[in-house]
């Protein structure tokens, strides 16, 4: 007997998707992430942003769709490809950008950089650079909520590559065993750095593997923000109601290389172009044009709004100070007297 039965989110009534205004908000959120990252490319090329920078251009529907279903009391743990998650969570653009510029005004005081964005006030616990390394931590956050009887969940993002790591499997087992309020979100963009899914996994149906641990597991079109939102809302509600951990495989694609260092020699250009036909921003815009009377003027307005926010953020981030090297050793240990 299986402990739970997997369900298909595309079957049965999910309730109506959000209305016109809601779709408008989703579009704006996705555009914020897209335009932000495009600016990151420019700043990286200009030498202002350094280090490994992993862009999520093409994957915005995941960040935005998932966060619609989360509350401020939920916790989020994520990967090094997390600009989108951070912005969707509500971390100010200027704080994210300042972090990438190594400024003390950055959301991790310039100690983390692009891969390690943190905002404890928003319960955003990284920004993890070790593939799958954040997954057990997320289980611990979920365990704490469960032990203290709080009605929150922990949302843990990871990629398809992480599903090959032991930490994923250990945590899936632990979370199912202990019925933890954990929402495991696999952002399947088909490549673990440069290795395609079929060359890294003997079983490429990732949801099926998660289901084998007793997690309810669904695969969802990760390019359709409305589908993502519907599925995550339903999963989140079940997790909150004590149904134990859920696994969502969001099938998506990154339009750019693994990182700014990556020459992207392992993918067919034709494959990339094919996926760009399903650009999540275009998909939603087209739908809004067809159903909401949305038009070019409307799009221009959103773009202008996003552009203004971005320019303000760039200006503000650039003004951030640099932490003096004398403070190098701060935060290795907690300061005495500041015990959490």
């Amino acid at each position: 007997m299986t402990r739970r039965t997997a369900a298909d989110p595309h079957r049965g009534s999910l309730g109506p998707p959000g209305g016109r205004e809601h779709r408008h908000d989703l579009l704006r959120e996705m555009l914020r992430i897209r335009r932000f990252e495009e600016r990151c490319v420019e700043l990286y090329s200009a030498g202002e942003i350094r280090g490994f920078v992993h862009l999520c251009i093409g994957e915005e529907a995941v960040s935005v769709g998932v966060h619609q279903a989360l509350t401020p009391e939920d916790s989020v743990v994520t990967t090094y490809r997390e600009h989108g998650h951070a912005l969707a969570r509500g971390i100010p653009m200027a704080a994210v950008l300042a972090e990438m510029l190594g400024r003390v005004t950055g959301c991790s005081r310039g100690r983390g950089g692009s891969m390690h964005l943190f905002d404890v006030g928003r319960r955003f616990y990284g920004g993890h650079g070790i593939v799958a390394g954040g997954i057990p931590v997320a289980a611990g956050l979920a365990l704490a909520d469960r032990m203290r009887g709080r009605p929150n969940l922990t949302c843990c993002f990871f990629g398809d590559g992480a599903v090959a790591e032991g930490e994923f499997h250990e945590t899936a087992n632990l979370a199912a065993l202990w019925d933890l309020p954990l929402l495991m979100v696999c952002e399947n963009n088909l490549y673990a750095m440069g290795t395609p899914l079929a060359r890294e996994h003997a079983q490429i149906d990732l949801a099926a593997r998660a289901a084998s641990y007793g997690l309810v597991a669904w695969a969802v079109d990760g390019m359709d923000v409305l589908a993502v939102e519907r599925a995550v809302r339903r999963a989140a509600q079940a997790v909150r109601e004590g149904a134990g951990p859920y696994f969502l495989e969001l099938r998506t694609y990154r339009f750019r290389a693994h990182s700014m260092y990556d020459p992207d020699l392992y993918r067919d250009k034709a494959e990339i172009e094919q996926w760009k036909q399903r650009d999540p921003i275009t998909l939603l815009t087209d739908r809004m044009r067809a159903e909401d009377g949305f038009d070019d003027a409307g799009l221009d307005l959103v773009e202008k709004e996003v552009s203004e926010e971005l320019e303000r953020a760039v200006e503000e981030a650039g003004k951030g100070g640099l932490e003096p090297p004398e403070d190098l050793l701060r935060f290795v240990y907690s300061p005495a007297g500041e015990r959490p």
Binding site: R109, G140, L143, T154, N173
Partner: protein, 330 residues
């Protein structure tokens, strides 16, 4: 004879258990988690009885998944609980090293001071019980290498009993090494013992001729060596480091300033080990106090073997400590 049996002297294991019981009773945020800590009573019997007393939520058996449950400890600590995670042995802890080094030790700094991890991790270390190479190593020097954590090595019953509370009060991750050969050691608890000052080494025996610097399972051997040396009128001072990070070198250096000779005893390997760090600090800061080169008595450069005579040969022994001290004294 009638009446109750005479109360036996408590063991190091009893002291650890009493510390856990006290911690669980004192703070409902505290819970114990690890392989076999509950129904089994702990691989070394440390947590026997605690499941019945505190229930399965707070004395939590885990699957054999070191990385997952140590990582879960990190997450629970971040979320405001005070987990005590038992990893059976230091050799097994290598499976959780990603969580200990990349997360527990790192998150506070990498988040710019936002994510504190008040986690306690307990594990056994050391050889001497013929458990062969995958259950016998002394890797506390590896952990002492890592900024962001505190590393403790209780060598006495009182430290076993009174280090846990301050470790739990520490806002940062603490790793506690319990030497496997100590669990059955008995002793008389100090009635005046108080929470241990985790920043300070302890002088376990006063002496004027040579300083023996050690920790954990080697403390008893160092004290025995000191007694043997005393029969030759060589008075050895014995320093128990007890906190391996941050290392209290001041206590060791103050002792060397009195005795002018130092022997460092460490069950870990000599090369790039904890003894090298201690010896280097004496050379850096106490060079002009020395009347002889610093001696080291360490584990042999070999995976610890099973056969008794080979295992004994691989480990620091009293005779070797005595010989090193005599060389230093000249």
């Amino acid at each position: 004879m009638t009446g109750a049996k005479a109360a036996r002297e408590p063991t190091y294991r009893d002291a650890l258990r009493e510390a856990l019981r006290e911690a669980l009773a004192a703070d409902e945020r505290v819970f114990l988690m690890g392989e076999d800590v509950g129904r089994y009573g702990g691989a070394f019997g440390v947590s026997l009885g605690l499941l019945d007393e505190f229930g399965p939520d707070r004395v939590r058996d885990t699957p054999l998944s070191e990385s997952a449950f140590v990582g879960a400890g990190v997450g629970a600590a971040i979320a405001g609980l005070r987990p005590i995670v038992e990893v059976m042995t230091v050799n097994f802890s290598l499976l959780a090293l990603d969580q200990i080094l990349n997360n527990a030790a790192t998150l506070l700094h990498m988040s710019g001071g936002q994510v504190a991890v008040p986690l306690v991790i307990r594990m056994t270390t050391g050889a001497g019980r013929q458990l062969a190479a995958q259950h016998s190593h002394s890797l506390e020097g590896w952990y002492a290498h890592i900024p962001g954590i505190r590393v403790l090595a209780p060598a006495t019953l009182d430290d076993a009993r009174y280090m846990l509370a301050p470790a739990l009060a520490d806002p940062d991750p603490v790793v506690i090494f319990e030497h496997g050969s100590l669990y059955n050691v008995t002793g008389t608890p100090d009635p005046g013992a108080a929470p241990v000052d985790l920043d300070s080494a302890a002088v376990r025996r006063a002496g004027s001729d040579v300083t023996l610097i050690t920790h954990g399972g080697s403390l008893g051997k160092a004290l025995e060596a000191a007694e043997r040396l005393a029969t030759d009128s060589i008075e050895a001072e014995v320093v128990d480091l007890r906190t391996l990070r941050p290392l209290d070198d001041a206590t060791a250096l103050a002792s060397v300033a009195r005795t002018h000779r130092a022997v460092v005893i460490d069950e870990g390997w000599r090369t790039a080990g904890l003894s090298a760090e201690v010896a280097a600090r004496i050379a850096e800061q106490g060079f002009y106090d020395l009347d002889a080169p610093v001696e080291r008595v360490c584990g042999a450069e070999v995976p610890v073997p099973y056969a008794r005579q080979l295992e004994e040969a691989a480990l620091p022994q009293v005779a070797g400590i005595v010989a090193a001290a005599r060389r230093a004294v000249g």
